[in-house]
Protein backbone atom coordinates (compact mmCIF):
# COMPACT_ATOMS: atom_id res chain seq x y z
CA UNK A 1 0.00 0.00 0.00
CA UNK A 2 1.29 3.43 -0.84
CA UNK A 3 2.01 5.93 1.91
CA UNK A 4 -0.78 8.16 0.73
CA UNK A 5 -3.30 5.34 0.71
CA UNK A 6 -2.22 4.39 4.21
CA UNK A 7 -2.73 7.96 5.41
CA UNK A 8 -6.20 8.05 3.89
CA UNK A 9 -7.08 4.79 5.59
CA UNK A 10 -5.83 6.04 8.95
CA UNK A 11 -7.80 9.28 8.56
CA UNK A 12 -10.94 7.38 7.57
CA UNK A 13 -10.59 5.09 10.53
CA UNK A 14 -10.10 8.00 12.89
CA UNK A 15 -13.26 9.70 11.61
CA UNK A 16 -15.14 6.44 11.97
CA UNK A 17 -13.93 6.06 15.54
CA UNK A 18 -14.78 9.63 16.54
CA UNK A 19 -18.10 9.82 14.69
CA UNK A 20 -20.32 8.27 17.38
CA UNK A 21 -18.92 10.58 20.01
CA UNK A 22 -20.75 13.38 18.20
CA UNK A 23 -24.14 11.70 18.46
CA UNK A 24 -23.78 9.05 21.14
CA UNK A 25 -21.85 8.62 24.40
CA UNK A 26 -20.87 12.21 25.28
CA UNK A 27 -22.97 13.44 22.30
CA UNK A 28 -20.76 16.37 21.39
CA UNK A 29 -23.25 17.66 18.80
CA UNK A 30 -26.57 16.20 19.84
CA UNK A 31 -27.83 12.83 20.94
CA UNK A 32 -29.11 11.09 17.84
CA UNK A 33 -29.69 7.37 17.77
CA UNK A 34 -30.79 7.85 14.19
CA UNK A 35 -27.39 9.14 13.10
CA UNK A 36 -25.69 6.27 14.89
CA UNK A 37 -28.02 3.67 13.47
CA UNK A 38 -27.62 4.82 9.88
CA UNK A 39 -23.86 4.63 10.31
CA UNK A 40 -24.24 1.19 11.87
CA UNK A 41 -26.31 0.01 8.92
CA UNK A 42 -23.76 1.29 6.43
CA UNK A 43 -20.87 -0.49 8.14
CA UNK A 44 -22.89 -3.62 8.79
CA UNK A 45 -24.10 -3.90 5.19
CA UNK A 46 -20.54 -3.21 4.06
CA UNK A 47 -19.30 -6.11 6.15
CA UNK A 48 -21.93 -8.50 4.82
CA UNK A 49 -21.19 -7.22 1.33
CA UNK A 50 -17.52 -7.91 1.97
CA UNK A 51 -18.33 -11.49 2.87
CA UNK A 52 -20.12 -11.78 -0.49
CA UNK A 53 -17.22 -10.01 -2.18
CA UNK A 54 -14.68 -12.51 -0.88
CA UNK A 55 -16.41 -15.31 -2.77
CA UNK A 56 -18.28 -13.40 -5.48
CA UNK A 57 -15.75 -10.72 -6.26
CA UNK A 58 -12.31 -12.12 -5.52
CA UNK A 59 -13.01 -15.73 -6.45
CA UNK A 60 -15.70 -15.02 -9.04
CA UNK A 61 -18.25 -17.36 -7.46
CA UNK A 62 -21.38 -15.27 -7.84
CA UNK A 63 -23.94 -16.22 -5.23
CA UNK A 64 -27.65 -15.41 -5.21
CA UNK A 65 -28.23 -17.03 -1.85
CA UNK A 66 -25.59 -15.70 0.49
CA UNK A 67 -28.25 -15.12 3.10
CA UNK A 68 -28.05 -18.85 3.84
CA UNK A 69 -24.87 -18.15 5.84
CA UNK A 70 -26.28 -15.07 7.52
CA UNK A 71 -29.36 -16.95 8.64
CA UNK A 72 -27.35 -19.94 9.79
CA UNK A 73 -25.21 -17.74 12.02
CA UNK A 74 -28.21 -15.86 13.35
CA UNK A 75 -30.20 -18.98 14.15
CA UNK A 76 -27.34 -21.00 15.61
CA UNK A 77 -26.36 -18.36 18.14
CA UNK A 78 -29.95 -17.43 18.91
CA UNK A 79 -31.09 -21.01 19.48
CA UNK A 80 -28.04 -21.75 21.63
CA UNK A 81 -28.73 -18.59 23.62
CA UNK A 82 -32.51 -18.72 23.95
CA UNK A 83 -33.18 -22.45 24.09
CA UNK A 84 -29.98 -23.72 25.66
CA UNK A 85 -29.01 -20.86 27.89
CA UNK A 86 -25.64 -20.16 26.28
CA UNK A 87 -24.03 -16.80 26.68
CA UNK A 88 -24.32 -15.18 23.22
CA UNK A 89 -20.64 -14.25 23.22
CA UNK A 90 -19.82 -17.94 23.54
CA UNK A 91 -22.43 -18.89 20.97
CA UNK A 92 -20.94 -16.46 18.48
CA UNK A 93 -17.86 -18.53 17.54
CA UNK A 94 -20.10 -21.58 17.16
CA UNK A 95 -22.34 -19.58 14.84
CA UNK A 96 -19.32 -18.47 12.82
CA UNK A 97 -18.05 -22.02 12.55
CA UNK A 98 -21.51 -23.17 11.47
CA UNK A 99 -21.55 -20.60 8.68
CA UNK A 100 -18.14 -21.83 7.57
CA UNK A 101 -19.34 -25.40 7.67
CA UNK A 102 -22.46 -24.65 5.62
CA UNK A 103 -20.22 -22.83 3.14
CA UNK A 104 -17.91 -25.81 2.93
CA UNK A 105 -20.80 -28.25 2.47
CA UNK A 106 -22.51 -26.20 -0.23
CA UNK A 107 -19.11 -25.73 -1.84
CA UNK A 108 -18.23 -29.42 -1.80
CA UNK A 109 -21.60 -30.42 -3.22
CA UNK A 110 -21.80 -27.75 -5.91
CA UNK A 111 -18.19 -27.68 -7.01
CA UNK A 112 -17.92 -31.47 -6.96
CA UNK A 113 -20.84 -31.46 -9.39
CA UNK A 114 -18.89 -28.98 -11.52
CA UNK A 115 -21.38 -26.11 -11.18
CA UNK A 116 -20.05 -22.79 -12.39
CA UNK A 117 -21.30 -19.31 -13.19
CA UNK A 118 -25.04 -18.97 -13.39
CA UNK A 119 -25.69 -22.50 -12.21
CA UNK A 120 -23.75 -21.92 -9.03
CA UNK A 121 -25.64 -18.67 -8.47
CA UNK A 122 -28.98 -20.39 -8.89
CA UNK A 123 -28.16 -23.35 -6.67
CA UNK A 124 -27.18 -21.02 -3.82
CA UNK A 125 -30.56 -19.36 -4.22
CA UNK A 126 -32.21 -22.78 -3.96
CA UNK A 127 -30.17 -23.66 -0.85
CA UNK A 128 -31.30 -20.45 0.81
CA UNK A 129 -34.90 -21.33 -0.05
CA UNK A 130 -34.50 -24.78 1.46
CA UNK A 131 -33.12 -23.28 4.66
CA UNK A 132 -35.91 -20.71 4.78
CA UNK A 133 -38.60 -23.35 4.38
CA UNK A 134 -37.00 -25.61 6.97
CA UNK A 135 -36.72 -22.71 9.42
CA UNK A 136 -40.36 -21.99 8.74
CA UNK A 137 -41.39 -25.54 9.57
CA UNK A 138 -39.43 -26.88 12.52
CA UNK A 139 -40.14 -26.32 16.23
CA UNK A 140 -36.54 -25.38 17.10
CA UNK A 141 -36.91 -22.08 15.25
CA UNK A 142 -40.54 -21.63 16.31
CA UNK A 143 -41.40 -21.56 12.62
CA UNK A 144 -42.92 -18.44 11.19
CA UNK A 145 -43.58 -16.98 14.64
CA UNK A 146 -39.92 -16.26 15.00
CA UNK A 147 -37.74 -16.12 18.09
CA UNK A 148 -37.68 -13.22 20.49
CA UNK A 149 -34.47 -12.71 22.43
CA UNK A 150 -35.22 -11.44 25.91
CA UNK A 151 -34.00 -7.89 26.34
CA UNK A 152 -31.28 -7.75 28.95
CA UNK A 153 -29.08 -4.84 28.05
CA UNK A 154 -25.76 -5.74 29.54
CA UNK A 155 -22.53 -5.91 27.53
CA UNK A 156 -21.68 -9.34 28.94
CA UNK A 157 -25.00 -10.43 27.44
CA UNK A 158 -24.12 -9.10 23.96
CA UNK A 159 -26.70 -6.35 24.28
CA UNK A 160 -25.96 -2.67 24.66
CA UNK A 161 -28.06 0.15 26.00
CA UNK A 162 -26.25 2.69 23.83
CA UNK A 163 -26.45 1.88 20.06
CA UNK A 164 -22.96 3.35 19.83
CA UNK A 165 -21.54 0.03 20.92
CA UNK A 166 -23.19 -1.86 18.09
CA UNK A 167 -21.76 0.76 15.81
CA UNK A 168 -18.29 0.04 17.13
CA UNK A 169 -18.88 -3.68 16.78
CA UNK A 170 -19.86 -3.18 13.15
CA UNK A 171 -16.79 -1.01 12.68
CA UNK A 172 -14.52 -3.74 14.02
CA UNK A 173 -16.15 -6.31 11.74
CA UNK A 174 -15.87 -3.99 8.80
CA UNK A 175 -12.18 -3.40 9.46
CA UNK A 176 -11.61 -7.14 9.78
CA UNK A 177 -13.43 -7.59 6.47
CA UNK A 178 -11.24 -4.96 4.83
CA UNK A 179 -8.15 -6.62 6.28
CA UNK A 180 -9.18 -9.98 4.85
CA UNK A 181 -9.80 -8.40 1.45
CA UNK A 182 -6.45 -6.63 1.62
CA UNK A 183 -4.76 -9.89 2.54
CA UNK A 184 -6.34 -11.48 -0.54
CA UNK A 185 -4.67 -8.90 -2.77
CA UNK A 186 -1.30 -9.77 -1.25
CA UNK A 187 -1.32 -13.48 -0.59
CA UNK A 188 -0.92 -16.70 -2.49
CA UNK A 189 -4.48 -17.69 -1.62
CA UNK A 190 -5.78 -14.44 -3.11
CA UNK A 191 -3.67 -14.84 -6.25
CA UNK A 192 -5.07 -18.32 -6.70
CA UNK A 193 -8.63 -17.08 -6.26
CA UNK A 194 -8.05 -14.40 -8.88
CA UNK A 195 -6.66 -17.03 -11.24
CA UNK A 196 -9.73 -19.21 -10.67
CA UNK A 197 -12.02 -16.25 -11.28
CA UNK A 198 -10.31 -15.40 -14.53
CA UNK A 199 -9.84 -18.87 -15.98
CA UNK A 200 -10.35 -22.15 -14.19
CA UNK A 201 -8.65 -24.33 -16.77
CA UNK A 202 -5.51 -22.25 -16.79
CA UNK A 203 -5.53 -22.15 -12.99
CA UNK A 204 -5.71 -25.93 -12.89
CA UNK A 205 -2.89 -26.27 -15.39
CA UNK A 206 -0.70 -24.11 -13.17
CA UNK A 207 -1.02 -26.44 -10.22
CA UNK A 208 -3.98 -24.92 -8.40
CA UNK A 209 -6.37 -27.31 -6.73
CA UNK A 210 -9.37 -25.37 -7.98
CA UNK A 211 -11.92 -27.43 -6.10
CA UNK A 212 -10.16 -27.10 -2.77
CA UNK A 213 -9.59 -23.36 -3.09
CA UNK A 214 -13.20 -22.72 -4.04
CA UNK A 215 -14.48 -24.73 -1.09
CA UNK A 216 -12.12 -22.84 1.19
CA UNK A 217 -13.20 -19.44 0.00
CA UNK A 218 -16.87 -20.30 0.35
CA UNK A 219 -16.22 -21.52 3.90
CA UNK A 220 -14.38 -18.29 4.72
CA UNK A 221 -17.10 -16.18 3.17
CA UNK A 222 -19.80 -18.19 4.94
CA UNK A 223 -18.08 -17.81 8.30
CA UNK A 224 -17.85 -14.04 7.87
CA UNK A 225 -21.46 -13.74 6.85
CA UNK A 226 -22.56 -15.89 9.81
CA UNK A 227 -20.68 -13.57 12.16
CA UNK A 228 -22.95 -10.82 10.87
CA UNK A 229 -26.01 -12.95 11.47
CA UNK A 230 -25.37 -13.17 15.20
CA UNK A 231 -24.79 -9.44 15.46
CA UNK A 232 -28.06 -8.79 13.66
CA UNK A 233 -30.01 -11.06 16.00
CA UNK A 234 -28.43 -9.50 19.10
CA UNK A 235 -29.12 -5.98 17.91
CA UNK A 236 -32.74 -6.44 16.88
CA UNK A 237 -33.52 -9.22 19.39
CA UNK A 238 -35.86 -10.89 16.94
CA UNK A 239 -35.43 -13.43 14.19
CA UNK A 240 -37.82 -15.09 11.77
CA UNK A 241 -37.28 -17.18 8.63
CA UNK A 242 -37.87 -14.41 6.13
CA UNK A 243 -35.49 -12.07 7.93
CA UNK A 244 -32.87 -14.78 8.33
CA UNK A 245 -33.15 -16.44 4.93
CA UNK A 246 -35.08 -13.93 2.79
CA UNK A 247 -33.84 -13.31 -0.72
CA UNK A 248 -33.77 -9.55 -0.13
CA UNK A 249 -30.67 -9.78 2.04
CA UNK A 250 -28.86 -11.93 -0.51
CA UNK A 251 -29.63 -9.32 -3.12
CA UNK A 252 -28.48 -6.53 -0.83
CA UNK A 253 -25.11 -8.18 -0.27
CA UNK A 254 -24.69 -8.68 -3.99
CA UNK A 255 -25.76 -5.14 -4.82
CA UNK A 256 -23.51 -3.53 -2.23
CA UNK A 257 -20.53 -5.41 -3.53
CA UNK A 258 -21.25 -5.17 -7.26
CA UNK A 259 -22.13 -1.49 -7.16
CA UNK A 260 -19.10 -0.52 -5.11
CA UNK A 261 -16.86 -2.81 -7.11
CA UNK A 262 -16.68 -6.59 -6.90
CA UNK A 263 -13.18 -7.82 -6.23
CA UNK A 264 -11.97 -4.52 -4.79
CA UNK A 265 -11.11 -3.90 -1.14
CA UNK A 266 -13.30 -0.86 -0.55
CA UNK A 267 -16.03 -1.79 -3.03
CA UNK A 268 -18.56 -3.06 -0.50
CA UNK A 269 -18.00 -0.08 1.80
CA UNK A 270 -18.45 2.39 -1.03
CA UNK A 271 -21.45 0.45 -2.36
CA UNK A 272 -23.06 0.38 1.05
CA UNK A 273 -22.53 4.10 1.51
CA UNK A 274 -24.05 4.89 -1.87
CA UNK A 275 -26.99 2.56 -1.34
CA UNK A 276 -27.86 4.04 2.01
CA UNK A 277 -27.47 7.52 0.62
CA UNK A 278 -29.91 6.69 -2.18
CA UNK A 279 -32.18 5.14 0.44
CA UNK A 280 -32.15 8.27 2.58
CA UNK A 281 -32.78 10.53 -0.42
CA UNK A 282 -35.76 8.53 -1.63
CA UNK A 283 -37.12 8.43 1.89
CA UNK A 284 -36.93 12.23 2.05
CA UNK A 285 -38.57 12.34 -1.35
CA UNK A 286 -41.46 10.47 0.22
CA UNK A 287 -41.74 13.17 2.87
CA UNK A 288 -41.42 16.09 0.50
CA UNK A 289 -43.45 15.01 -2.51
CA UNK A 290 -47.07 14.42 -1.54
CA UNK A 291 -48.63 11.29 -2.96
CA UNK A 292 -45.50 9.20 -2.52
CA UNK A 293 -46.45 7.08 0.44
CA UNK A 294 -44.06 4.25 0.09
CA UNK A 295 -40.66 5.42 -1.06
CA UNK A 296 -38.61 2.35 -0.23
CA UNK A 297 -39.26 0.60 -3.55
CA UNK A 298 -37.96 3.70 -5.31
CA UNK A 299 -34.57 3.10 -3.77
CA UNK A 300 -34.58 -0.51 -4.95
CA UNK A 301 -35.61 0.57 -8.45
CA UNK A 302 -32.59 2.84 -8.49
CA UNK A 303 -30.35 0.02 -7.19
CA UNK A 304 -31.62 -2.32 -9.90
CA UNK A 305 -30.89 0.23 -12.59
CA UNK A 306 -27.44 0.93 -11.16
CA UNK A 307 -26.73 -2.81 -11.16
CA UNK A 308 -27.59 -3.06 -14.85
CA UNK A 309 -25.36 -0.13 -15.70
CA UNK A 310 -22.50 -1.43 -13.55
CA UNK A 311 -22.57 -4.92 -15.02
CA UNK A 312 -22.78 -3.50 -18.52
CA UNK A 313 -20.20 -0.77 -18.33
CA UNK A 314 -18.24 -0.80 -15.08
CA UNK A 315 -16.95 -4.23 -14.11
CA UNK A 316 -15.04 -2.69 -11.19
CA UNK A 317 -18.07 -0.76 -10.00
CA UNK A 318 -17.83 2.75 -8.63
CA UNK A 319 -14.31 1.98 -7.43
CA UNK A 320 -13.32 1.52 -11.05
CA UNK A 321 -14.94 4.83 -11.90
CA UNK A 322 -12.95 6.61 -9.20
CA UNK A 323 -9.75 4.97 -10.36
CA UNK A 324 -10.33 5.96 -13.94
CA UNK A 325 -10.83 9.55 -12.89
CA UNK A 326 -7.44 9.75 -11.32
Amino acid sequence: MSRRAMLWCAAGLLVAILYPLLFGGPSLIARSNYAINVAFLILFAAFLGQSWNIAGGYAGQTSFGHVVFFGTGAYVSTILHVSHGWNPWLAWPVAIASGGLVGAIIGVLSFRAGLRGSYFALITLAFAEVFRIVANSIPQTRGGLGILIKADQRPENFQFRDPMWFYYLALVLCVIGLAIAWWLTRSRFGARLAAIRENEDAAMALGIDVFREKVRVLALSGAMCAAGGTVYAQKYLYLDPSIAFGVEKSVEMLLVSMIGGAGTIFGPLIGSGVLHLVGEITRDLGNVVPGIKNAQPLALIVYGLILVVIVAYLPDGLTGLLRRRR
Binding site: R192, A195, D201, A202, A205
Partner: protein, 244 residues
Amino acid sequence: MLEVRDLMKSFGGLKAVDGASLDVDQGAIVGLIGPNGAGKTTLFATIAGFHKPDGGRVRFEGKDTTGLPPHLLCERGMVRTFQITQPFARLSVIENIMVGAYLRTADRSEASARATDVARRVGLGDRLEAPAGDLTVAGRKRLELARALATAPKLLLLDEVMAGLNPTEVTAIVEIVRAIRADGVTILLIEHVMQAVMSLAEHVYVLNDGRIIADGAPRAIASEPKVIEAYLGRGAAERMSAHA
Protein backbone atom coordinates in the same frame (compact mmCIF):
# COMPACT_ATOMS: atom_id res chain seq x y z
CA MET B 1 11.00 -39.29 -18.41
CA LEU B 2 7.51 -39.59 -19.95
CA GLU B 3 6.10 -42.88 -21.18
CA VAL B 4 2.68 -43.02 -22.76
CA ARG B 5 1.31 -46.47 -23.54
CA ASP B 6 -1.79 -47.27 -25.59
CA LEU B 7 -3.63 -44.22 -24.38
CA MET B 8 -7.32 -44.11 -25.28
CA LYS B 9 -9.81 -41.30 -25.03
CA SER B 10 -13.16 -41.07 -26.74
CA PHE B 11 -15.97 -38.55 -26.63
CA GLY B 12 -19.31 -40.16 -27.27
CA GLY B 13 -18.60 -42.45 -30.18
CA LEU B 14 -15.59 -40.54 -31.44
CA LYS B 15 -12.20 -42.03 -30.62
CA ALA B 16 -10.07 -38.92 -30.35
CA VAL B 17 -7.05 -40.80 -29.02
CA ASP B 18 -6.96 -44.43 -30.04
CA GLY B 19 -4.06 -46.27 -28.48
CA ALA B 20 -1.29 -43.72 -28.76
CA SER B 21 2.16 -44.49 -27.32
CA LEU B 22 5.20 -42.29 -27.11
CA ASP B 23 8.36 -41.70 -25.06
CA VAL B 24 10.12 -38.52 -24.11
CA ASP B 25 13.65 -38.80 -22.76
CA GLN B 26 15.07 -36.53 -20.11
CA GLY B 27 16.46 -33.35 -21.62
CA ALA B 28 14.99 -33.91 -25.07
CA ILE B 29 12.83 -31.77 -27.28
CA VAL B 30 10.25 -34.03 -28.86
CA GLY B 31 7.74 -32.93 -31.47
CA LEU B 32 4.20 -34.16 -31.96
CA ILE B 33 2.72 -33.41 -35.35
CA GLY B 34 -0.32 -34.51 -37.28
CA PRO B 35 -3.11 -33.15 -39.43
CA ASN B 36 -5.96 -31.11 -37.97
CA GLY B 37 -8.30 -33.23 -35.92
CA ALA B 38 -5.68 -35.95 -35.44
CA GLY B 39 -6.20 -35.76 -31.69
CA LYS B 40 -2.99 -33.97 -30.70
CA THR B 41 -4.55 -31.57 -28.25
CA THR B 42 -6.71 -34.33 -26.78
CA LEU B 43 -3.65 -36.49 -26.33
CA PHE B 44 -1.90 -33.61 -24.59
CA ALA B 45 -4.87 -32.86 -22.39
CA THR B 46 -5.17 -36.51 -21.44
CA ILE B 47 -1.49 -36.78 -20.55
CA ALA B 48 -1.73 -33.58 -18.50
CA GLY B 49 -4.77 -34.80 -16.58
CA PHE B 50 -7.49 -32.66 -18.17
CA HIS B 51 -9.30 -35.75 -19.44
CA LYS B 52 -9.57 -39.10 -17.73
CA PRO B 53 -8.23 -41.68 -20.19
CA ASP B 54 -10.50 -44.58 -21.17
CA GLY B 55 -7.52 -46.91 -21.36
CA GLY B 56 -3.74 -47.06 -21.41
CA ARG B 57 -1.12 -45.73 -19.01
CA VAL B 58 0.98 -42.64 -18.49
CA ARG B 59 4.22 -42.81 -16.52
CA PHE B 60 6.12 -39.72 -15.52
CA GLU B 61 9.60 -40.09 -14.05
CA GLY B 62 8.99 -43.78 -13.61
CA LYS B 63 5.77 -43.35 -11.60
CA ASP B 64 2.27 -44.09 -12.82
CA THR B 65 0.38 -40.83 -13.24
CA THR B 66 -2.56 -42.10 -15.27
CA GLY B 67 -5.69 -40.10 -14.51
CA LEU B 68 -4.09 -37.80 -11.93
CA PRO B 69 -5.68 -34.33 -11.93
CA PRO B 70 -3.75 -31.48 -13.56
CA HIS B 71 -2.77 -29.70 -10.37
CA LEU B 72 -1.07 -32.80 -8.96
CA LEU B 73 0.79 -33.39 -12.21
CA CYS B 74 1.86 -29.79 -12.20
CA GLU B 75 3.15 -30.19 -8.67
CA ARG B 76 5.20 -33.18 -9.82
CA GLY B 77 6.71 -31.10 -12.58
CA MET B 78 4.57 -31.61 -15.68
CA VAL B 79 2.84 -28.52 -17.03
CA ARG B 80 0.99 -27.75 -20.22
CA THR B 81 0.21 -24.60 -22.17
CA PHE B 82 -2.94 -24.01 -24.19
CA GLN B 83 -3.19 -23.77 -27.93
CA ILE B 84 -5.86 -21.11 -27.52
CA THR B 85 -4.14 -18.89 -25.00
CA GLN B 86 -5.91 -18.63 -21.65
CA PRO B 87 -4.58 -15.52 -19.96
CA PHE B 88 -5.99 -14.28 -16.67
CA ALA B 89 -7.17 -11.31 -18.65
CA ARG B 90 -7.85 -8.81 -15.87
CA LEU B 91 -4.59 -9.54 -14.07
CA SER B 92 -1.30 -7.94 -15.02
CA VAL B 93 1.48 -9.85 -16.73
CA ILE B 94 3.45 -10.22 -13.54
CA GLU B 95 0.39 -11.31 -11.58
CA ASN B 96 -0.27 -13.94 -14.24
CA ILE B 97 3.22 -15.32 -13.93
CA MET B 98 3.17 -15.14 -10.15
CA VAL B 99 0.23 -17.54 -10.12
CA GLY B 100 2.60 -20.09 -11.57
CA ALA B 101 5.45 -19.11 -9.26
CA TYR B 102 3.25 -19.52 -6.20
CA LEU B 103 3.27 -23.25 -6.81
CA ARG B 104 6.76 -23.43 -5.34
CA THR B 105 6.61 -20.71 -2.73
CA ALA B 106 3.99 -19.06 -0.55
CA ASP B 107 6.08 -15.95 -0.15
CA ARG B 108 4.94 -12.98 -2.16
CA SER B 109 8.28 -11.30 -2.72
CA GLU B 110 9.91 -14.57 -3.69
CA ALA B 111 7.11 -15.32 -6.15
CA SER B 112 7.41 -11.82 -7.51
CA ALA B 113 11.17 -12.12 -7.97
CA ARG B 114 10.82 -15.47 -9.67
CA ALA B 115 8.07 -14.16 -11.94
CA THR B 116 10.13 -11.13 -12.92
CA ASP B 117 13.02 -13.40 -13.78
CA VAL B 118 10.86 -15.67 -15.91
CA ALA B 119 9.26 -12.68 -17.63
CA ARG B 120 12.72 -11.49 -18.68
CA ARG B 121 13.61 -14.90 -20.03
CA VAL B 122 10.61 -14.95 -22.34
CA GLY B 123 10.98 -11.31 -23.34
CA LEU B 124 8.10 -9.84 -21.34
CA GLY B 125 10.40 -7.97 -18.95
CA ASP B 126 9.16 -4.57 -20.05
CA ARG B 127 5.45 -5.40 -19.93
CA LEU B 128 5.18 -6.54 -16.33
CA GLU B 129 2.36 -4.20 -15.33
CA ALA B 130 0.32 -4.46 -18.52
CA PRO B 131 -3.05 -6.19 -18.20
CA ALA B 132 -2.75 -9.59 -19.82
CA GLY B 133 -5.88 -8.89 -21.84
CA ASP B 134 -4.04 -6.10 -23.66
CA LEU B 135 -1.24 -8.30 -24.99
CA THR B 136 -0.89 -9.13 -28.68
CA VAL B 137 -1.11 -12.75 -29.83
CA ALA B 138 2.65 -13.03 -29.66
CA GLY B 139 2.65 -11.54 -26.18
CA ARG B 140 -0.01 -13.98 -25.02
CA LYS B 141 1.96 -16.92 -26.34
CA ARG B 142 4.96 -15.73 -24.38
CA LEU B 143 2.79 -15.29 -21.34
CA GLU B 144 1.51 -18.87 -21.63
CA LEU B 145 5.10 -19.99 -21.74
CA ALA B 146 6.16 -17.79 -18.85
CA ARG B 147 3.37 -18.91 -16.54
CA ALA B 148 4.15 -22.54 -17.22
CA LEU B 149 7.84 -21.94 -16.74
CA ALA B 150 7.25 -20.20 -13.42
CA THR B 151 5.93 -23.46 -11.97
CA ALA B 152 9.52 -24.78 -12.29
CA PRO B 153 8.55 -27.74 -14.46
CA LYS B 154 10.66 -30.72 -15.40
CA LEU B 155 8.54 -31.45 -18.45
CA LEU B 156 6.87 -28.75 -20.50
CA LEU B 157 4.00 -29.65 -22.82
CA LEU B 158 3.75 -26.87 -25.38
CA ASP B 159 0.60 -26.78 -27.48
CA GLU B 160 1.28 -24.72 -30.60
CA VAL B 161 3.11 -21.86 -28.97
CA MET B 162 4.06 -20.57 -32.41
CA ALA B 163 0.74 -20.74 -34.23
CA GLY B 164 -0.40 -17.40 -35.53
CA LEU B 165 3.00 -15.74 -35.16
CA ASN B 166 5.00 -14.09 -37.94
CA PRO B 167 8.42 -15.51 -38.88
CA THR B 168 10.36 -13.05 -36.71
CA GLU B 169 8.26 -13.89 -33.71
CA VAL B 170 8.64 -17.61 -34.43
CA THR B 171 12.40 -17.27 -34.49
CA ALA B 172 12.29 -15.45 -31.16
CA ILE B 173 10.17 -18.17 -29.54
CA VAL B 174 12.38 -20.91 -30.98
CA GLU B 175 15.34 -19.27 -29.28
CA ILE B 176 13.43 -19.04 -26.02
CA VAL B 177 12.44 -22.70 -26.18
CA ARG B 178 16.06 -23.67 -26.84
CA ALA B 179 17.16 -21.67 -23.83
CA ILE B 180 14.53 -23.35 -21.67
CA ARG B 181 15.83 -26.75 -22.68
CA ALA B 182 19.37 -25.61 -22.00
CA ASP B 183 18.22 -24.94 -18.43
CA GLY B 184 17.36 -28.61 -18.12
CA VAL B 185 13.64 -28.64 -18.90
CA THR B 186 12.41 -31.47 -21.11
CA ILE B 187 9.97 -30.41 -23.81
CA LEU B 188 7.19 -32.09 -25.73
CA LEU B 189 5.63 -29.81 -28.28
CA ILE B 190 2.73 -29.85 -30.67
CA GLU B 191 3.53 -27.64 -33.58
CA HIS B 192 2.16 -26.71 -36.94
CA VAL B 193 4.99 -24.42 -37.89
CA MET B 194 7.14 -27.01 -39.64
CA GLN B 195 10.24 -24.94 -39.75
CA ALA B 196 10.13 -24.72 -35.95
CA VAL B 197 9.67 -28.45 -35.46
CA MET B 198 12.46 -29.25 -37.87
CA SER B 199 14.90 -26.95 -36.17
CA LEU B 200 13.92 -27.71 -32.58
CA ALA B 201 12.94 -31.33 -32.20
CA GLU B 202 15.33 -34.24 -32.12
CA HIS B 203 12.56 -36.74 -32.39
CA VAL B 204 9.10 -36.41 -33.91
CA TYR B 205 5.93 -38.43 -33.48
CA VAL B 206 3.21 -38.28 -36.09
CA LEU B 207 -0.35 -38.67 -34.89
CA ASN B 208 -3.21 -39.49 -37.24
CA ASP B 209 -6.73 -40.51 -36.27
CA GLY B 210 -5.64 -40.82 -32.68
CA ARG B 211 -2.78 -43.18 -33.41
CA ILE B 212 0.95 -42.71 -33.76
CA ILE B 213 1.67 -43.69 -37.35
CA ALA B 214 5.37 -42.91 -37.46
CA ASP B 215 8.22 -41.55 -35.42
CA GLY B 216 11.86 -40.76 -35.91
CA ALA B 217 14.24 -37.94 -36.67
CA PRO B 218 12.48 -34.97 -38.28
CA ARG B 219 14.22 -35.31 -41.62
CA ALA B 220 13.51 -39.00 -41.87
CA ILE B 221 9.88 -38.44 -40.93
CA ALA B 222 9.46 -35.80 -43.56
CA SER B 223 10.31 -38.22 -46.31
CA GLU B 224 8.24 -41.11 -45.04
CA PRO B 225 5.48 -41.75 -47.58
CA LYS B 226 2.97 -42.80 -44.93
CA VAL B 227 3.34 -39.46 -43.25
CA ILE B 228 3.14 -37.51 -46.46
CA GLU B 229 0.00 -39.41 -47.34
CA ALA B 230 -1.70 -38.87 -44.04
CA TYR B 231 -0.62 -35.48 -43.09
CA LEU B 232 1.60 -33.35 -45.18
CA GLY B 233 -0.14 -33.41 -48.52
CA ARG B 234 1.62 -32.53 -51.70
CA GLY B 235 1.83 -28.81 -51.17
CA ALA B 236 3.38 -29.08 -47.76
CA ALA B 237 5.80 -31.74 -48.95
CA GLU B 238 7.12 -29.35 -51.55
CA ARG B 239 7.48 -26.63 -48.99
CA MET B 240 9.38 -29.02 -46.78
CA SER B 241 11.84 -30.03 -49.46
CA ALA B 242 12.38 -26.37 -50.20
CA HIS B 243 13.38 -25.88 -46.58
CA ALA B 244 15.54 -28.99 -46.56
